[in-house]
Symmetry: C2
Subunit: 414 residues, 2 copies
């Protein structure tokens, strides 16, 4: 029986097959995400992986409809596996915002799902690091969030040689747009943003044609992009990041505008410096979403980013930054004489209670086979009960051996 297409099995390392994923690498990434969030005082939250379909289709923009993993449940509810976390966050914050001091700084590590029918071999789920700041409209919040993004990538050993944050602003584009087109403005603005979003992957002629339909020329658009003149808001963010010593990780790049309809102000994406991979992370301001999701009851400015596990893993592999994940056994207890199995089990219990990772042969095995297994598991020590009172401890690296009293054994394993 096979797993569903687009889903992943996560195996312990070493991996048995190239078709499967590493549970150890996943946990390594999750640990780094959590640890960086902790240093920035972001608190963890989570919501259901399944939500009412309405949460995602209302106001989420055309591009998300049709890509959802949605269905009708046994209670006749229209539901969907979550394709992104932000609507759930907005729902949760709107429900209990009075209980939390602003700004709210929260993160989550959700598994997200999309059903794209046509793309064979493409993943239908991935994990994301989502970090958001809610209740602060000052660009200081944008700088704090981007600093978290930068330090998250640095936590994996990536440097300014490896990645760059491309910083942009829908406000800047809005001014550009408003400067030329007066009527019917709001309807066509998002259409314009969509053209800008796709500029880099669309043939010039096509973009030219679409832009001129809105009364713009590609030349004007390109000139605005090349000027790279930061708005006052972006300048504020750049200075804030420079004060932290993070200035070299960011550059203004107006080609970034983000696809989702709900972004309102500053937007940004993290890319590998060589441009070999898809975006590592992306985010921005969505100052109207909490209001929309809460039906107008709660109005809070907000911003956030999402960083997926798949592209990140590809880059870490390509840069040689993914550690080897061994079993990490501290002590392998050898049981060469079955008469000593009972006191050996007592020793195993005591060492585990002292915090050591301990392995041993569950059933009788030849001494050389046991020792080979200890080596395979990269055990730091072997321990062998020699009588009810004594234990022989061997450091497998230094090959030093000592005989310790039973109660004293744990002290010789540091």
């Amino acid at each position: 029986m096979e797993r569903l297409p687009g889903f992943r099995d996560f195996y312990p390392e070493p991996l048995p097959h190239q078709d499967v994923w590493s549970a150890d690498a996943r946990q390594y990434i999750f640990d780094k995400w959590r640890e960086t969030a902790r240093r920035y005082n972001f608190r963890e939250y989570d919501g259901p992986p399944l939500e009412p379909l309405e949460l995602f289709t209302t106001k989420s923009g055309e591009e998300i409809v049709g890509q959802l993993y949605n269905f009708t449940d046994k209670g006749e509810r229209a539901v969907s596996l979550r394709p992104e976390m932000t609507p759930t966050l907005a729902r949760m914050v709107a429900a209990h915002e009075r209980s939390y001091k602003k700004p709210i700084k929260w993160f989550a590590l959700p598994q997200l799902f999309r059903y794209e029918r046509q793309q064979k071999g493409r993943l239908r789920e991935h994990f994301q690091f989502n970090a958001d700041i809610i209740g602060e409209s000052d660009p200081a919040a944008d700088a704090e969030l981007i600093a978290l993004l930068i330090d998250t990538l640095r936590a994996f050993g990536l440097t300014e040689q490896d990645f760059v944050i491309r910083l942009s602003s829908r406000n800047a584009w809005q001014e550009f747009f408003q400067g030329s087109i007066p009527p019917d403005y709001s309807m066509r603005e998002y259409e314009f943003f969509q053209i800008i979003d796709k500029l880099e992957r669309t043939p010039k002629e096509e973009s030219e044609k679409k832009l001129s339909a809105l009364g713009f020329s590609l030349a004007d658009v390109n000139q605005f992009i090349e000027s790279g003149q930061p708005t006052a808001e972006l300048e504020n963010i750049l200075q804030n990041l420079a004060a932290r010593g993070l200035g070299s990780f960011v550059k203004i790049d107006y080609r970034v505008i983000r696809g989702l309809a709900y972004y309102t102000g500053v937007v940004f994406e993290a890319f590998d410096a060589k441009g070999e991979f898809r975006a590592i992370a992306g985010g921005g301001r969505y100052d109207n979403l909490v209001k929309l999701i809460s039906g107008g009851k709660v109005n809070l400015p907000a911003l956030g980013f999402g960083m997926g596990d798949v592209v990140l893993l590809e880059i870490l592999k390509a840069r040689g930054l993914l550690p080897k994940f061994d079993a990490n056994v501290d002590v392998f207890v050898l049981i060469e004489d079955e008469i000593l199995r009972a006191p050996s089990l007592k020793l195993i219990q005591e060492l585990r209670a002292a915090g050591f990772a301990v392995e041993y042969p569950l059933t009788p095995a030849k001494p050389d086979k046991q020792f080979k297994r200890a080596q395979e598991l990269k055990a730091a020590f072997t321990a062998k009960v020699e009588s009810e009172s004594y234990v022989r401890i061997r450091n497998l690296k230094s090959r030093d051996e000592i005989v310790a009293g039973f109660a004293d054994a744990a002290n010789h394993l540091r």
Copy 2:
């Protein structure tokens, strides 16, 4: 907009409302589960939360059908959110078993889903600690697994006053059953097991009636239960656990037989000692499942247990064993003079880079309001930049103050 019935929102503590769950308590439980598994050298794996429906309906017993969160996806596949992890594990092991030395000791922390239409207010998802040993038929494996279960509960501070492992065996019941009924045996055995499984929550008369339809008397069944005579296999397990000093956590209790059809031998459940709660954990041997799932290709004995987060949390709360989860801010950086914001941001960056959890006012705020916020966040220290070169550090517990050089500040925060 509301979340779906039976699903949980997990908020950071302190909790804003009694209707929501604690993301911090969940992470506390996950950390303990992972840490105990590590000491026993169980390796983590995971599979998709969505699987082909067939994986769960084939050979999983009548009791699981109709409780599944199943649907037809856009590709016309019959799929289901996973109600349990064992079929996925069997599928994964069967696919790559040659790559792993036996016994395989693996664990997972899956979210599981059930759709029970009738029970209002009941949860439709929960998280489980699943630990399994595959490829070892000796009772030494059962003892190792039960020792892990015991030490997992002890890791939360629960003692032998708080819980007990009720140990039983389908083999023992099989012998009892076989002793009386010769023909048509295999079909009716599972029917008999189901009656035993429900004995404790069924009126006597009803059990009596059902048993006599199979040719048994309730009196004989009760006598067998009360005898509590361990089989040779159970005696072996008891002695193994006694050698570890864990004997007092286990008792033979033949009333335990487990509901799932695929169990084959030893079965067990963990209960709170006072019998106030539902089972904390349950498991047993399923020596035929890997063969069934792999279509006969791989035949490996196996056993495992599952421990849910919901009952565990209830018990930890009732016993006062759940810690308080504060923000755990190490340093709150006070910015009383906006002229010093830039060097303050530099200090914040350096302290975070040194591993400290640092918070600060994103925007200008009155000094007393900043200090109050530091106290609310239970910050261990405040730090205030006094010039480009000096930082005033205050220990909020001892109220000691010192002025340190900028580069030296981190050394005064341990």
